[in-house]
């Protein structure tokens, strides 16, 4: 019985340790048609950069990873991020990025949409290019 408890505790520790190790990864992905530098991601999501070469950029937010993205990349909270886009939409007619509900949706959107970019917390799949990891 004692051995079983010890084994259970050890297993729980292992699961927790491996989960923590993967939780810090935030990956910005784009459609293969997009050539983008890591330091340009912030401009894209502020609406200051709308093109990569001749390709019109179509960034999308991912609600499953948005908090981490705003904290690590945009350096602001959700309220201020929304405020930036409210002002921008009113001033120059720009539309804020559409919001995807999950990593799977974000990946599917990026894969199928030329010019699309988004961010995920899971491993990226084939059909997208990794622009940056945070």
């Amino acid at each position: 019985m004692r051995i079983q408890i010890l084994a259970l505790l050890f297993g729980t520790f292992l699961v927790a340790w491996t989960s923590t190790a993967g939780a810090g990864d935030l990956v910005v992905i784009c459609n293969p048609s997009v050539s983008l530098k890591a330091d340009e991601v912030r401009d894209v999501y502020f609406g200051d950069k709308g093109f990569a070469g001749t390709v019109k950029l179509l960034p999308a937010d991912n609600s499953a990873a948005q908090d981490a993205f705003l904290e690590k990349v945009m350096k602001l909270d959700a309220k201020k991020y929304a405020g930036v886009w409210i002002k921008k939409a009113f001033r120059d007619g720009s539309a804020p990025p559409p919001v995807k509900a999950s990593d799977a949706e974000a990946i599917a959107y990026v894969k199928q949409t030329p010019g699309a970019c988004s961010y995920i917390t899971s491993a990226p799949s084939d059909g997208v290019v990794v622009v940056a990891k945070f």
């Binding site: 401009d43 200051d48 950069k49 709308g50 093109f51 001749t54 019109k56 179509l58 309220k79 201020k80 929304a82 409210i86 002002k87 939409a89 009113f90 001033r91 120059d92 007619g93 720009s94 539309a95 559409p98 995807k100 509900a101 999950s102 799977a104 949706e105 974000a106 990946i107 599917a108 959107y109 990026v110 199928q112 949409t113 010019g115």
Partner: protein, 447 residues
């Protein structure tokens, strides 16, 4: 089934045990033959128990196998179909664009109260402010559109409708977007960044001279024409430019009109704004720029019609961060009345506003000054064209992410004595006080 078999087996075993237990009591009265017979029976019983136990094990094993076999086996085809369905739903969600989910309407609204109307000081009390609706229909990746419709109280106190902006553009790249239509004239910072939609601004109202044409402003805040704008990104910031041309304005009924349908004399307005926005580093949040325009403005004066050449140059600086919002704008006019005496008519106007974005609210202070040459028909014929200065102190409180309450106390003094002319009545006849102190409150929302 299994229990049914076990119950008799246990009963037999119990009987055997009980029988065995009774043997010592009977030992003296039975013969050895009977003992042997009993022993045999006991052996048979034990064998029967062992056989039954084996049978029970066999049945148990059979039952387990049968249970497992009874569970439906996973159907690979069905599983694949479900996976495909999930993938299709995800893909549909992922590729769904905002343009196929209807046209969202956004807007701003405000109501105001105070001892004076915040725009028309000949009115006092509460006013409905404005209901501002704007639409950004998505026509395509590079085609951009913006329409802004506003319902607001005008100088006569009635609610009117105004197509505030209507512009259709094409975005070539980050360096060039061309707009055609009616737009906010790109000068300074406030006119394009903090136009209608008072919720956007920390201050309760715009500087008086920089207000809208029908709200006491003396600048041509709107232009109907063509506007080219863009940005060039650098390591430490970006260079912004605006070039525009449009219909020369006209003063109608004491208010500058942007001539949406074209003007009578056919002359055009030309202007530009060049700015630099610092990004990152110690100057992050700083925006500086210069601007200017030249314009040919006529009026609707039937007695002595004027045709004025406006020449304006200006500069501005904005420091906009999470903590501060400071704005300074200055303009200088060198005008000529083309139908009047030769010479240059000189006017200046400027304002400075400093705001601190605290957790609890945004206090701000502002000073504004307009020194307008009353020999210049462009200013003299405007209802609100008098020189003035105003000092104001205010605060903004955010109730939530979409609503705010602002308060402002201000002192305004008109520094021109404006008697009646052949074009307009005197300021006193209009009801404009020469100087007045205001206590204002505003409730502003966005949606």
């Amino acid at each position: 089934m299994l229990n049914k078999l076990l119950i008799p087996a246990r009963a037999i075993a119990l009987g055997v045990v009980l029988s065995t237990a009774s043997l010592p009591a009977a030992a003296d009265s039975v013969s050895d033959a009977k003992l042997d017979e009993l022993q045999k029976k006991l052996d048979q019983s034990m064998k029967m128990i062992e056989a039954l136990a084996a049978r029970v094990k066999e049945l148990e094993a059979h039952t387990s196998t049968a249970t497992v076999a009874a569970a439906p086996a996973p159907d690979p085809q069905r599983l694949q179909a479900v996976e495909q369905k999930v993938a299709q739903i995800e893909t549909a969600n992922a590729t769904r664009q905002s343009d196929d989910s209807g046209l969202p309407i956004h807007g701003f609204a405000d109501v105001n109260t105070g001892n004076y109307n915040l725009y028309f000081p000949y009115f006092k009390g509460t006013n409905v402010g404005s209901l501002d609706l704007y639409l950004t229909p998505k026509i395509g990746d590079s085609v951009v559109t913006l329409a802004e419709l506003i319902f607001e109280t005008g100088p006569d106190g009635t609610v009117g409708t105004d197509l505030e902006r209507f512009q259709i553009g094409y975005q070539f790249n980050d360096q060039a977007t061309v707009w055609v239509g009616r737009f906010h004239t790109p000068y300074g910072y406030v006119n394009t960044a903090l136009h209608h939609g008072v919720w956007l601004a920390d201050a309760l109202r715009r500087p008086k001279f920089a207000n809208f044409e029908d709200k006491g402003g003396v600048m041509p805040a709107h232009t109907t024409g063509v506007w080219v704008t863009g940005a060039l990104r650098e390591d430490n910031g970006k260079f912004l430019y605006d070039f525009y041309t449009g219909n020369g304005q006209r003063i109608m009924g004491g208010i500058v009109d942007m001539q949406n349908g074209g003007n009578e004399h056919g002359a055009a307005m030309f202007g530009s704004r060049l700015s630099y926005q610092f990004i990152g580093g110690a100057a992050d949040g700083l925006l500086v720029g210069v601007n200017g325009f030249t314009d040919k403005v006529n009026d609707d004066n039937p007695v002595t019609p004027a045709l004025i050449r406006l020449n304006m140059v200006g500069a501005y600086a904005v420091y906009d961060t999470d903590t501060w919002e400071h704005i300074i704008e200055a303009y200088s006019f060198r005008d000529k009345n083309l139908n009047g005496a030769p010479g240059t008519l000189q006017s200046e106007m400027w304002f400075a506003q400093f705001a601190y974005r605290a957790r609890w609210g945004v206090p701000y202070i502002r000073y504004e000054r307009a020194n307008l040459d009353q020999a210049d028909p462009y200013f003299n014929e405007q209802t609100f064209g008098a020189s003035y200065y105003r000092s104001a102190l205010g605060v903004r409180f955010d109730i939530n992410a979409k609503s705010s309450i602002k308060f402002e106390v201000a002192h305004t003094r008109n520094t021109d004595d404006r008697p009646a002319t052949d074009y307009r009545p005197s300021d006193a006849e209009i009801g404009l006080p020469q100087q007045f102190n205001e206590i204002l409150a505003q409730y502003a929302v966005r949606f």
